[in-house]
């Protein structure tokens, strides 16, 4: 196994560095490119191998059945999959308007010297450790949301830690990622187009709407990139989602689980069961495939629509 790893990881790096320094730069650099592609390939293969026992036993059913019962060695990740979809849906519904707001605020509303400051604040939102978001969600956001929702509609939210809480927290965390892509596109609107918009007598709000329509590919690309983040986010979600990995629920005001938080919460005691580690790796495989698919779509959209 060691030999295999050396061949796959370490030796290519050394050859690449050597080639880069002493032989032919171009080939050294190419090997670095190969290194990153190999890492992604190795990652997918590794998860397939690790998840093989449970897929061999249950087939695709592991992704389609609910119920997580380690004592009976019966695992299904459907409730986690549903939780991932629900939290991401809540997060995207809240995050996209905020991301559009950020892009317009920076480019249209703020005076030039405040733009950098506001942009830095948005970037800082993306750099903040996720565990600090989790801490805040655990002790501030969760209880606040519970009392807020319960004043609007009595007794809908029985616990502060629900899929809805996770969705709101995710929305705050992923807004800067969507906003970054939209801002990038917004800044690329050609000057003649902008002048034409104002020449026909558009107000600033109308101009903003027209420009947003002009960069719709970037908005769609930002949507998918942020969606990828929302589906993969682990620690903050695991802290506020409620950790209910047993019961299947589609009510966002109940506690639930997502795939990534299932892995984070169940992995520490997985080694005591025969099939739990493969089941969790099956979840990771699912996350990987989602990640690859969503990113492929996002990259395709952005590249196709490059202004």
């Amino acid at each position: 196994m060691l030999g295999f790893l050396l061949v796959v990881l370490l030796i290519p790096y050394l050859i690449a560095a050597y080639g880069l320094l002493f032989v032919k730069l171009r080939w050294g650099l190419r090997l670095f490119g190969a290194f990153i592609v190999a890492t992604i390939g190795l990652l997918t293969v590794m998860f397939l191998v690790e998840a093989y026992p449970i897929i061999a036993r249950d087939g695709v059913a592991v992704f389609l059945q609910t119920g997580w019962d380690p004592v009976r060695e019966s695992y299904g990740v459907l409730q986690a999959l549903t939780g991932t979809v629900l939290t991401s849906a809540v997060a995207m519904a809240l995050a996209m308007p905020m991301a559009l707001g950020v892009a317009v605020t920076i480019n249209e509303i703020l005076p030039a010297r405040w733009r950098g400051v506001f942009g830095s604040l948005v970037d800082l939102t993306a750099t903040m450790p996720t565990v600090i978001y989790g801490l805040w969600g655990l002790f501030v956001l969760g209880p606040t949301l519970q009392s807020l929702v319960n004043t609007l509609a009595r007794d809908t939210m029985t616990s502060p830690y629900t899929l809805f809480t996770a969705g709101v927290l995710l929305a705050i965390m992923i807004t800067p990622y969507a906003a970054a892509v939209i801002r990038e596109g917004y800044a690329l609107v050609p000057k003649p187009v902008e002048e034409a918009i104002y020449a026909v007598g558009a107000t600033r709000f109308e101009a903003a709407l027209i420009k947003l329509r002009y960069v719709r590919n970037y908005i769609l690309g930002g949507f998918f990139l942020a969606l990828g983040r929302a589906m993969g986010e682990t620690v903050a979600v695991a802290m506020v989602v409620g950790g209910n990995f047993v019961r299947f629920t589609t009510n966002i005001f109940e506690s639930g689980i997502t795939i990534s938080s299932l892995i984070a919460l169940q992995f520490p005691n997985a080694a005591s069961y025969q099939y739990m580690v493969p089941a969790l790796f099956a979840g990771a495989l699912l996350l990987t495939l989602f990640g690859l698919a969503i990113n492929a779509v996002a990259i395709y959209i952005i590249q196709r629509g490059q202004i």
């Binding site: 790893l5 308007p97 707001g101 800082l124 450790p129 989790g134 993969g232």
Partner: protein, 313 residues
């Protein structure tokens, strides 16, 4: 109503819609950054109070974490582990990320460079817990052979140097600081690569030709002469990437695993984010307080790096 009046009315309506619309956008934009202030305020108010209650700043930065029955404690082992793994991860991330960025930025007409760029774009968005699991899987496969053929003989050879060396080099446990650093570096590589790539791509053609003309070998042209043109952007990339990985929790869960004591880096290693994650979910008030203190320390580290990056960049 004359046509003129009608036009005036429409203009007035449009003005109102204009202000309402812009106001809505501004409101949404501000809503995106308000939580940031709430979080920073919450962490510092509760965190500073917690640090004072748990025995002052120095004790908090060096002491062992509190058990549920203690009144005071700190995050010493966590701080050491975080610093060690972050520095290692950042160095490794730059060592791979920088040349990779040069490749996808400078040779972007090659077909394979586009494949590599797609790979980097995928990796930067990858769920971090997946990367942690990947390193865990690799580690659990490689550990035995690695210890048997490489680290056991190595630690015997270097043992005359002194006992302190066993803190750093020796047979590895399943969970160790090096696995943590490896996971962090995989997260850092695409950050550095993408920013380096866009910096190299934005170099003007005449400058590039001048560099090739004076640099002689292609290596000198790319890495010595043109490096000066992009050093600022690359430095910013390195700092922001470091700030990002210093706060990562998910990739460390199954690689560094966490620890409550000062321990050799070859075994389970503590980290500040891991302690925040663990302590915040305990029912004990003293440990929750220490989680807030740890969060304040972590936030201070990250804000410092972030501000340095912004001022320099």
């Amino acid at each position: 109503m004359t046509a003129e009046r009608k036009a005036e009315n429409i203009t007035a309506v449009r003005m109102v819609i204009n202000w309402l619309g812009l106001g809505l956008f501004a409101l949404l934009g501000v809503a995106a950054v308000v939580p940031l202030f709430l979080i920073i305020g919450d962490v510092y108010v509760k965190g500073i109070d917690a640090i004072n209650r748990l025995g002052g700043l120095w004790h908090f930065l060096t002491g062992l974490p509190p058990t549920p029955y203690e009144e005071s404690g700190g995050i010493g082992p966590m701080l050491v582990g975080t610093l060690y793994m972050t520095v290692l991860g950042a160095l490794l991330g730059i060592a791979v990320g920088f040349p990779l960025g040069v490749y996808i930025g400078e040779m972007r007409r090659e077909k394979f460079a586009n494949v590599a760029r797609a790979g980097v774009n995928v990796l930067v968005e990858f769920p971090t817990i997946v990367i942690g699991l990947f390193v865990y899987a690799v580690m659990s496969l490689a550990k035995e052979d690695l210890n048997l053929y490489l680290l056991d003989p190595l630690s015997r050879t270097i043992s005359p140097v002194g006992g302190w060396i066993t803190q750093f080099i020796g047979p590895l446990d399943g969970f160790n600081a090096y696995a943590g650093a490896a996971a962090l570096s995989i997260i850092m590589i695409p950050y550095v690569a993408l920013i380096t790539a866009s910096a190299y791509a934005s170099i003007e053609q005449p400058l590039r030709e001048a560099a090739y003309a004076t640099g002689g070998r292609e290596f000198n042209a790319l890495f010595v002469v043109l490096r000066k043109a992009v050093s600022r952007a690359v430095l910013t990339a390195a700092l922001l990437g470091t700030a990002k990985i210093a706060g990562e929790t998910a990739p460390l869960l199954f690689t560094a695993f966490g620890n409550f004591y000062y321990a050799p880096f070859t075994g389970p290693t503590a980290a500040v984010p891991l302690w925040v994650w663990y302590a915040a979910q305990t029912p004990y008030e003293v440990q929750i307080a220490s989680a807030y203190g740890a969060a304040a320390v972590l936030l201070t580290i990250i804000l410092t790096i972030f501000i340095i990056a912004r001022i320099r960049g």
